[in-house]
């Protein structure tokens, strides 16, 4: 436990100093990855903690992104950060509440597909109607600001994203320690037993779903403001799938797994795409990424975050901390 806290503190510290040691490209890349990490955190709350596999998370992300563009003042004055952020979070959260209240009637794979259905509906509403700018997407010319903070400046944007990620991480880790978080963990391990011991699981799951949607909306807000551009692909199932891959890669059931997974996935993608390393072969970057993912699944059964422990066990021949391994499922 002590090492994990140290690791997280070090990671966030390094991220805080990153813009001073890297160029503008590196800063931009890492701020993008941190947005994905926040997005992955929101899904981790559902998949890793509550055991609800949501395949429509991109809808909430996209709604957060579109809300800041569509709701910003149409003249050239900038919107206020806090108000537009609150709007994005609220809209995504309310949409998640609606979707969740219906989708949670189903279970297992049916739940996965209902969430997909709702997110695809949101996708087609944006994609096929003039209301959302259609396939071309919309540009945002004036970025939100508040006092001295102007999100048009990359450094301010980076700082804002960093604070958002830290806040999201601390919020989730505190939430999971609360009675509410323990109840969610209980639902993941054995829902029947939670019902038998007198919990009404539906409100808990609905609350988790809405919270997760709101967090995803927050990430979407950051994405839209950083790039100043939104397009319908932000709501598509490809993005939902990608973020799911990130958290599985990082390790389900650990909050830091979401962040580790997002960084690992995005950096791998960046590595295999770089023409410096692979030359003209870089256009086949899917191959390297796919092979790495296959190797990760084959050799790291519980995701990247458990690699240090796996290594220690191999080294000393003893097994540490059995309790934090994923609790066995029924099937």
């Amino acid at each position: 436990m002590r090492y994990q806290k140290l690791f997280i503190a070090l990671a966030f510290g390094l991220l805080a100093f990153w813009p001073f040691i890297s160029g503008s490209y590196g800063t931009d890349l890492v701020s993008k990855i941190m947005i994905y990490a926040l997005f992955a955190l929101s899904l981790e709350l559902l998949v890793g903690t509550t055991g609800l596999v949501c395949f429509g998370q991109a809808a909430f992300f996209g709604i957060g992104a579109y809300s800041v563009v569509l709701l910003s003042p149409s003249d050239t004055s900038a919107s206020v950060i806090w108000i537009s952020l609150a709007e994005a979070i609220l809209l995504a959260g309310v949409f998640a509440l609606l979707v969740g209240s219906l989708a949670l009637r189903t279970q297992g794979i049916y739940f996965i597909m209902v969430t997909l259905a709702f997110s695809q509906m949101a996708y087609y509403v944006i994609h096929d109607t003039p209301f959302g700018g259609g396939t071309d997407g919309i540009y945002m010319y004036v970025k939100p600001s508040w006092g001295v903070i102007d999100l048009d400046k990359p450094a301010h944007m980076y700082g804002f994203i960093w604070v958002s990620l830290l806040a999201g991480f601390l919020f989730l880790s505190q939430l999971l320690r609360s009675p509410f978080g323990r109840a969610l963990a209980g639902i993941k391990v054995n829902e029947q037993r939670m019902i038998a011991s007198g919990f009404s699981v539906y409100p808990y799951k609905l609350a988790a779903f809405s919270l997760s949607g709101a967090l995803a909306g927050w990430a979407g807000y950051l994405f839209a403001v950083k790039d100043g551009f939104v397009n319908p692909e932000l709501l598509g199932w490809h993005l939902s799938g990608t973020v799911l891959v990130m958290i599985i890669l990082g390790g389900l059931g650990h909050i830091r797994g979401a962040i580790v997974g997002a960084f690992a996935f995005a950096l791998l993608q960046e590595f295999f795409q770089s023409e410096i390393v692979f030359g003209t072969f870089a256009k086949h970057w899917h191959l390297g990424l796919g092979l790495t993912i296959i190797a990760c699944v084959a050799f790291m059964p519980n995701g990247l975050v458990t690699v240090p422990r796996q290594f220690m066990e191999r080294l000393s021949g003893r097994s540490f901390n059995k309790s934090s391994q994923p609790l066995g499922e029924q099937s």
């Binding site: 219906l102 049916y110 296959i294």
Partner: protein, 242 residues
């Protein structure tokens, strides 16, 4: 995944349609068998999501291998000459025989699958294996082999679907992408494990999609998903639950 792969084999070999069909089937059975053995056989004990991640990795690898080995061109596949005729319906309209061939082959396959699943010993073992792996194993059935065979059969069926649809849809990179999600939707609407459900759902989706494009072109894309959401809210376990 295999769906997209197979037509490329047939397109690149050329030759006579039916012999390529058989060759493609044999190859895809071998491929499915090897894939299960190499990549999936040790994942059943883990969480289901690990299989999802593995599949994702394999899709990426296969798409790129295809791009490296065969290239990114669009291929057309000719309808075999025996079936390349049209049946006159009245003075104006005709209906191509090849489409009737596809429909009847698919119907036959469905009936065959239904027969295997519900009326044979093998089908019984497969259904039992999907319910409780350990129990089937302790009854003395080689579940590892069984799963491998089922996996290979699944790959072969997907490849077969790809091959017979190649002449009417042409063959292009990423053609598997479009059907991937629709396949999931169909299986889920019909109810997982029900062949009758899958057939009905496929029919329903096909009709809704086609008539949606005809009558309400603005919202055609979303109709399939609206249908899925409505059906699953009405029947949370699909139309024909097992």
């Amino acid at each position: 995944m295999a769906y997209a792969l197979a037509p490329f084999v047939s397109a690149s070999f050329g030759g006579e349609f039916f012999s390529v069909l058989v060759l493609g089937l044999v190859l895809s059975v071998i491929l499915g068998y090897l894939l299960e053995w190499l990549f999936f056989s040790y994942l059943y004990k883990r969480e289901h999501l690990q299989q999802v991640l593995m599949t994702y990795g394999l899709i990426l690898v296969f798409e790129e291998l295809r791009s490296l080995l065969i290239g990114d061109d669009v291929h057309g596949v000719n309808i075999p000459p025996i079936l390349d005729v049209s049946i006159p319906l009245n003075d104006m309209m005709t209906y191509p025989l090849y489409r009737i061939f596809i429909s009847s082959v698919c119907l036959l396959l469905c009936i065959g699958m239904w027969f295997v699943f519900t009326r044979t010993r093998l089908g019984m073992m497969i259904r039992a294996g999907s319910t409780n792996r350990e129990m089937v194993q302790s009854l003395g059935i080689d579940i590892t082999l069984l799963y491998r065979v089922v996996f290979a059969a699944g790959v072969a069926l997907a490849a077969f679907a790809g091959m017979i649809s190649a002449p009417i849809s042409s063959v292009y990179p990423g053609m598997g992408d479009g059907v991937l999600i629709v396949c999931f939707v169909i299986v889920i609407i019909g109810g997982v494990g029900s062949i009758k459900g899958a057939m009905m759902a496929a029919l329903l989706i096909g009709l809704v999609d086609t008539f949606g494009k005809l009558l309400l072109p603005q919202v055609a894309g979303v109709l399939v998903y609206v249908l899925m959401a409505l059906i699953l809210l009405w029947r949370p376990r699909g139309l024909f639950k097992v």
